[in-house]
């Protein structure tokens, strides 16, 4: 299971640097990052090499955060690679809450992190279309 860490960020200068700085100090490697924001606050979503350790570090510093299981899909690295995947999900009427890209472990494949409103349905659709779900090893995660 791949876990995403989400952290509450106030919309003010330096908030993001505080979090990334804290992870850097503790030698945690960021593999993917995405931010969703409103005018007043934001949610930082990251995937790190060691989610357990990162979360205890963040909690120790009083951050509000959550760990959420996410699906990472191996997307064909060619024009329309992502478009094809989204087409399949659209046909099956699967609602995507958010998605962002993530680094692979040195290979030539492209990977996308997905958060679907119905994870089970999402997984079935991906597998049914002959697409692969990435493992921790594919992404260099502990």
């Amino acid at each position: 299971m791949i876990y995403q860490i989400s952290v509450f960020l106030e919309n003010r200068a330096g908030q993001l640097a505080e979090v990334t700085g804290l992870l850097a100090e503790n030698n945690v490697n960021l593999r993917a990052i995405s931010i969703a924001e409103t005018t007043d606050y934001g949610v930082l979503r990251v995937i790190v090499d060691d989610a357990e350790r990162a979360s205890s570090i963040l909690l120790g510093q009083g951050n509000v955060m959550s760990m959420t299981p996410v699906s990472v899909v191996e997307v064909p690295d060619r024009p329309a690679g992502l478009a094809d995947v989204l087409e399949i999900l659209s046909e099956k009427e699967i609602d995507i809450e958010y998605m962002y890209s993530i680094l692979g472990n040195g290979g030539e494949k492209a990977y996308m992190v997905f958060r679907a409103s119905d994870e089970a349905k999402f997984e079935a659709a991906i597998k049914g279309a002959g697409l692969a779900l990435a493992t921790k090893a594919d992404l260099g995660l502990k």
Binding site: F8, E10, E37, V64, M65, Y98
Partner: protein
């Protein structure tokens, strides 16, 4: 301005006469309360006072105080002086922890309250030639009903506009030639601005405004007077005592005459409860000597002000109070509505937030802004922005339901709310009043 009074024989009575009325009415009222309000009788007994000890105003200090806590404890019927069957009206205002204050009125009480409001309207020049435009809220809030009744008694053509819907307010104001405007000072300022924006000042026939239910400065008075081309007068009151019209300004605009034939005012030291001499700054305390259904004695308003008996050029002889200069509790008045920090705390806990918050009140363009900073909690956090927004919306709605006015919620990271000496600063009031 020509000197006009609604009840000249009362409003210009000699001090001796006023004192004689007060002595007689207080003695009668204490007896009425002793016999009909067990809650207060117990307080008197605890202090070792009986009606026989109260022979006039000089003995008033012997009576126990009532506070908002008493109203909460006695909610809803515990302080009534008449059976419900004799009552015809309920009005209400915010309480300290979400339980509202409800006040009851007999028809006689309504009559006297409306007389007080009529005195205020006549004092600013209101006659049967005037169109009195009442933009206070109508409903549980006393502002609308009080001035509405007073306007009838003063003989004005009454426009019961209630609050909000500025477009409609301006249309009636221009089409029907409103001459006296009654609303909160911040709404008056807002209307003035809207009139300016639309360039319709030449169609406005207003000559006077009666503005109360919230604090306003002399500077704000001058702004409103200039922008609307009127004279702006203050009016004071509280639901517990009756509503607007407990005191009102005359054309001298140097303080509000308290209707002393109905309400005895005292200034006390808020710490010790000791009565202070005339001219001292302290907490204003009222005793209702003519009210039947809700006859509060020595009710502590928590408003800090000064009383003066200096003769007034308007000819009125009733004592004048200054504008309230502050509060001896933590109540805020925002857009005319009473807000207690404890109410916000109650909502936050109900909604799963920490009771760690900060209220920021400011006045921008003569209108109050109201923001509540709330620390995010793990329970209310989600990786989905939509879910956080949904929780935030729920909180905004719950605050509105509790307070009666809308607050802007600002979610902040935990432990970011400023603390001084380890104690969180709950209220930051940036308004300069």
């Amino acid at each position: 301005m020509e000197k006009r009074y609604y009840q000249p024989e009362i409003e210009t009575a000699s001090y001796e006469q006023i004192r004689a009325w007060q002595n007689e009415r207080l003695v009668k009222q204490v007896k009425h309360v002793w016999e009909n309000v067990p809650y207060y009788r117990k307080k008197m007994e605890a202090k070792g006072v009986t009606p026989d000890d109260i022979k006039g105003v000089d003995d008033l200090h012997k009576l126990p105080f009532l506070t908002k806590d008493d109203l909460r404890e006695a909610y809803p019927y515990g302080l009534m002086g008449k059976p419900l069957a004799d009552c015809v009206r309920i009005q209400s205002t915010s309480g300290t922890t979400g339980k509202r204050v409800v006040a009851f009125y007999t028809q006689h009480d309504i009559d006297l309250w409306e007389d007080c409001c009529a005195r205020a309207i006549v004092a600013v020049g209101g006659t049967n030639e005037d169109v009195c435009h009442v933009s206070y809220g109508y409903g549980l809030f006393t502002g609308g009903p009080g001035l509405n009744g007073g306007s009838h008694k003063a003989g004005c053509l009454t426009l019961p506009m209630s609050s909000g819907n500025t477009e409609r307010q301006l249309q009636f104001m221009t089409d029907l030639g409103s001459t006296i405007l009654c609303c909160t000072p911040s709404y008056a300022a807002y209307l003035a601005e809207s009139i300016k924006e639309r360039g319709i000042k030449d169609q406005i026939k207003l000559k006077a405004g009666i503005f109360g239910a919230e604090a306003w400065s002399e500077e704000m008075r001058r702004d409103i007077e200039r922008e609307l081309g009127i004279r702006a007068y203050d009016i004071y009151g509280l639901t517990e005592i009756s509503g607007p019209g407990v005191s009102f300004e005359c054309q001298e605009q140097t303080g509000m005459h308290i209707n002393e034939d109905h309400f005895i005012a005292e200034i006390i030291d808020p710490e010790t409860g000791e009565v202070l001499p005339e001219g001292s700054k302290g907490e204003l305390v009222f005793s209702c000597i003519t009210k039947e259904a809700f006859p509060l004695l020595r009710y502590r308003t928590r408003d800090i002000c000064v009383l003066t008996r200096k003769p007034c050029s308007c000819g009125r002889t009733h004592v004048k109070m200054s504008k309230p200069m502050g509060r001896s509790d933590d109540m805020l008045i925002i857009r005319g509505v009473n807000v207690f920090p404890s109410q916000i705390e109650t909502v936050l806990i109900e909604q799963g937030y920490q009771a760690n918050y900060q209220i920021i009140v400011d006045r921008v363009n003569n209108s109050d802004t109201f923001e509540v900073m709330v620390e995010m909690t793990p329970e209310n956090f989600s990786d989905s922005l939509a879910k956080i927004a949904e929780m935030e919306k729920k909180l905004v709605a719950a605050l509105k339901a509790m307070l009666g006015i809308a607050a802007k919620v600002k979610l902040v990271a935990p432990k970011t709310i400023a603390r001084s000496e380890g104690k969180a600063v709950r209220v930051v009031d940036k308004r300069k009043i």
